[in-house]
Symmetry: C2
Amino acid sequence: DDVLETQESVDHFKGEPMRHPALIRRAEKPFNGETPPSLLIEKFHTPNDVFYVRNHLPVPQVDAKTYSLEIDGISLNEVSLSLQDIKKFPKVSISATIQCGGNRRTEMGKGKPVAGLGWTGGAIGNAKWTGARLVDVLRTAGFKPEAYKHPEKFHVKFDGLDTDQSGECYGASVPLSYLLDGNFDAILAYEMNDKPIPIDHGFPIRIVLPGIVGARSVKWLSRVSISDEESQSPWQQRDYKVFSPSVSLETVDFSAAPPIMETPVTSYICSHDDGDKVKKGPLKLQGYAFSGGGRRIIRVEISLDKGKSWNIAKISDTNDTNLENTRNWSWVLWEANINIQSSAEIWVKAVDSGYNQQPEDFKNIWNYRGLLATAYHKIYLDVLT
Amino acid sequence: DDVLETQESVDHFKGEPMRHPALIRRAEKPFNGETPPSLLIEKFHTPNDVFYVRNHLPVPQVDAKTYSLEIDGISLNEVSLSLQDIKKFPKVSISATIQCGGNRRTEMGKGKPVAGLGWTGGAIGNAKWTGARLVDVLRTAGFKPEAYKHPEKFHVKFDGLDTDQSGECYGASVPLSYLLDGNFDAILAYEMNDKPIPIDHGFPIRIVLPGIVGARSVKWLSRVSISDEESQSPWQQRDYKVFSPSVSLETVDFSAAPPIMETPVTSYICSHDDGDKVKKGPLKLQGYAFSGGGRRIIRVEISLDKGKSWNIAKISDTNDTNLENTRNWSWVLWEANINIQSSAEIWVKAVDSGYNQQPEDFKNIWNYRGLLATAYHKIYLDVLT
Ligand SMILES: [Mo]
Ligand SMILES: [Mo]
């Protein structure tokens, strides 16, 4: 790195890792890069080196030998664990999709501008995450669900080792109730797709909270704490909340909406871009669909005539073959063989196991931060004549 | 009842209870009656005598003294419990909304006909349900979550005492995973709003499965069973499933969709009907909003200009004051003071704690059975000049 350092301009981003050239760079400091959607459909598990990177602060330098995770808070004993300590817990793996709250923001911003990084549909990825179960680790600190008589009043807070210039760290929290759900799989991940978790993804430990917006899966995890209040970080209190279309940055009351947790059902066409020119005749469309909260995708539908008729896409890749399964943390990859005879707008929508449906367009879910842009994905295909 | 009985026509509906005259009768045998929406907004807990009744079969005559509940199935001991036995378990109460899968069907059917009872927005109600926790009762039969290594392969089946003419009883099931969720509140209810549960609502015991479509909360409960298959009843296997708009009764593959469990976010204007004439000026609108799966309602919005601008309604009645709460089984009642200057279509939409949004209209969620009709509620108000 050849940035000049002076007393006025210290580069807090000196130690950043190398990034794969395929990542579409949306910001440099902090680094934010998006996976080209066409790469997302190549594999059910997105390769580590092209997995989208969403950093809020400079990447911290962490020495695995001296790393320690602190555990404390209400009805817990204070415990400090090394990476080796964490690796002694039963090793479990989950397949889980992580998605940025701003994924697909550019589509929402087309009608009316929104604030935030200009993600298209690649601020999402699916990986195999391996590590220790959070509840197993918390039990060594004396965690007992019965200790919290009103669990709705408590939160599990996560701090990262990444800090701003005043020393404040990245932070997030989730309601304690998630830990009381025997179906939930919070993992202190030290492996991503069977390799040590890369620096950009939280080396040596990332808390992976499946089905919940990516912003809560804190990287470079330094501390887990049970508290009677939420994380007070700006990312919990202000940035990742969705307000009414009638609310602007000037009129917003940040206390009027909860932080995003589970994300709504979404779907995306990855094989083609809006405006692509295609030949008349058979055409294979491919993409992903995902819903938060462990809700599986039960159906993906394609329309070539703005909803007059719908074709059911084939789920080409899923780790879930049980139609009655209520918990699934991974996206599905889908494909649809269509026959396109003239230029048309192509729509995709998905339905999740809670029979939630996507909104048809962005107008009525618009919010000034451009979050949870989960309307139907619509692309125009120009048929060559 | 003065129906003539002959050998050819035995009235299986002889023992039906009296029904409140306010119920809007949608079918007589079996009885189905809807609460007038204007009554729904009077009380947070819908009174028992006007709570909607959705019967699939004749109401059974049950003697509380000889009633028994059978428990059996995989990794359980066979246990038989009297009503008195059930009342010995810790007595717990939950406030929970129960909604028919066909609520608001008539709206969906306006664009294209659908099959089923012609419910408007009154096939829903909210009550206080009191009884024994299902997990407490199952524990006396030896229930241990650890006994089911692959919980996703198991189901909890519920049989009713109501039977068809061939002797087949009403039945339903839910995935076992619900019982592994420490936040879920399945109740063997013997009281509804602090009174013995009425005959039409399942006397002496109804299983109340909050956040799940009403069809699974089996009335006149006779048996709870853990099985490696779902209930094989037609209501589980065929009737309460939602298919693509492209599927008709002629083309349906019943195995292609899962039974409805959690229901999506919905909202309804109860104070006024479509086509009502109102005076120019201030007007108070009132209604309900609800989401399944324990998701609370975080916002209700009203538009007088087809989505160009939105007003945030006031939540006038809720049992949930904690914005971070992840589990809430009750609807909210809302009100909005608008100022109407000329005839207009009024829209209401709600957002739940998973930031799920309603679809804007019915066209793309249409299904031939008219289920989960959860688009924005839109009514036209005619301003008198
Ligand atoms: Mo994010
Ligand atoms: Mo129902």
